[in-house]
Amino acid sequence: MMIPTSLQTYKRILVILTACVLQFASAFVFAADNNVNVALKAYKVVGDKLVPTAEALPGDTIEYQVTYRNGGTTPARDVLATLPVPDGGMHYLADSAAPAKVQASLDGKQFAAVPLTRTVVRNGKQLTETVPVAEYRFLRWQLGELAPGRSVTVTSRMRLDGASKQ
């Protein structure tokens, strides 16, 4: 009767231990190898000013600023910085990305330089059409090498779908 209980207790302890080890291992890995820190901030665009915000009205424009900093001692190479266009009515504002040389994706897997195009068949003819920027779901910048102690900031503006204002 005691054996199953002991066995369960042992199993539970094992799970907790494993979790602790994993979490410690994760923290250790972060500290040791993952030198690049990513900081994301959101601002509301009011006229020509940027106001830090945690709120938005339909029709508002939000500027996202992402700072990539190499806090390590070795360079980070082939840095690809990805900024999603969040769900919930946000749309990328065309040509607002900085640096301007940016890639975009509809699914987060396949990226291509903007403007995105796609091939469609219309009236039996193959046509290449421009994908509306409102369909962009991800932006990605190729930052190349980030030297130790250096940081790079990328920005982009998104617009919250407007209510039909009077």
């Binding site: 709120e55 009205l57 339909p58 082939d78 910085a81 999603p84 969040p86 009515g89 779908d161 204002k165």
Partner: protein
Amino acid sequence: MKLKPVQRAVAIAIGLSAVTLQAGAATPAGTSITNQASATYLDSTLTARTATSNTVVTVVQQVASVTVSAGTSKTGSASGQVVFAHTITNNGNGADSFTLSTTNSGAFMMANVVFYADNDGNGVADNATAITTTGTLQPGAKMNVVAVATLPAGVGNGATNNLVVNATSTFNTANTASATDVTTVAPVSALDITANSAGAGAPGAGPGVEASAVATNTTAAGTPTRFTLVLNNSGTGTDTFNLSASTDPTFGNVSLPSGWTVTFKDAGGATITSASVASGASTVVYAEVNVPAGATPSTVDLYFRALSPTTNVGDRIHDAVIVTAPAGAELSVTKTQALDANCDGVADTAFSNAQITAGAVPGACIRYEITATNNGANAVSAVGITDTIPANTTYHVASASTVASATQGLVVAPGAGQTGVVSAAVGILLPNASAKMSFGVRINP
């Protein structure tokens, strides 16, 4: 690579917080929009690494937006009501209620405007409970309401009122939508008088007085005749019309020829002076015209009018009476004369019954015309015209073509230069037909 489960968890968390939206709809108020940037790179050992940022949350705030469906134009009558249906739509991104109000402009102000719910959207109030607000409407939700406006008493026909219906957001009272309803005052009744029958094809159909008679009765002097008038009310309400008759189509002067009378009677034969006509109905009125026995045979244009003293709505109809001579007095005879100074057998002037005051000197000639006319309703027969050569004159013949003659029948005359009787055997004269006998005389030298 050991971080992958953590990242997957983050990715799942982001996925769960994502809000599914219908295309075009504003993001609901309170929605949290989360964003998290990431980077991939190769570290110094060329191991692929991923770094993720903090999560940024943006909470969507409420905006008010409302629409009121377009206004319409209607006609109403003094003290009557008009009903305007509107749909109020919450186009904001949060639940909101909308205060209903109205403002007036134009030639008159509505005496009263009350809103009612019209949830079934049939344009009729659902119940007798007045409302002043839509109550809470979820984003995208609509409410049908009706504005029941009461016109003031005594407003003139054709006057218009612009009623602006406002819906104001409770969340943000600066947000208001409006639509304008137009009311034009029109009388409750609309009258058209037709002869004998109702409908678009009936004689006299259409408003206003006709240029020519649409019904003509023939009657002998002293015998009454009856016209059938149909009063058609195409308006929305019952009205009572005063009846009158005149020879003046404008009714500026309501008068009849001397001795004439007109009596109006209803379908039951009772004498009336006014007639009530229900909305969309027709009422028959008889106009009995009494022509006096001594009336001159002629055609008399008669106009009948029905006019409401309360709404001023009315119409007129143009009829006519052909008065004929009574039996036994059908024939009328007129005699006219003209000077023929040089006795060539041709009248120097127009014939008239006036006295010749110059030129009738001894040796001059005079031409006569005697006309017999049948003014009766029937043909008369054995008509003869007879005249005597006046004293101090002799029958005169200038040429073969100017001997005594008649338009109908054989003529008998004295010998040239003689006296006696000139006669024409006219024979049968149809109604309205006439025959004329002509001859000349010479004043004795």
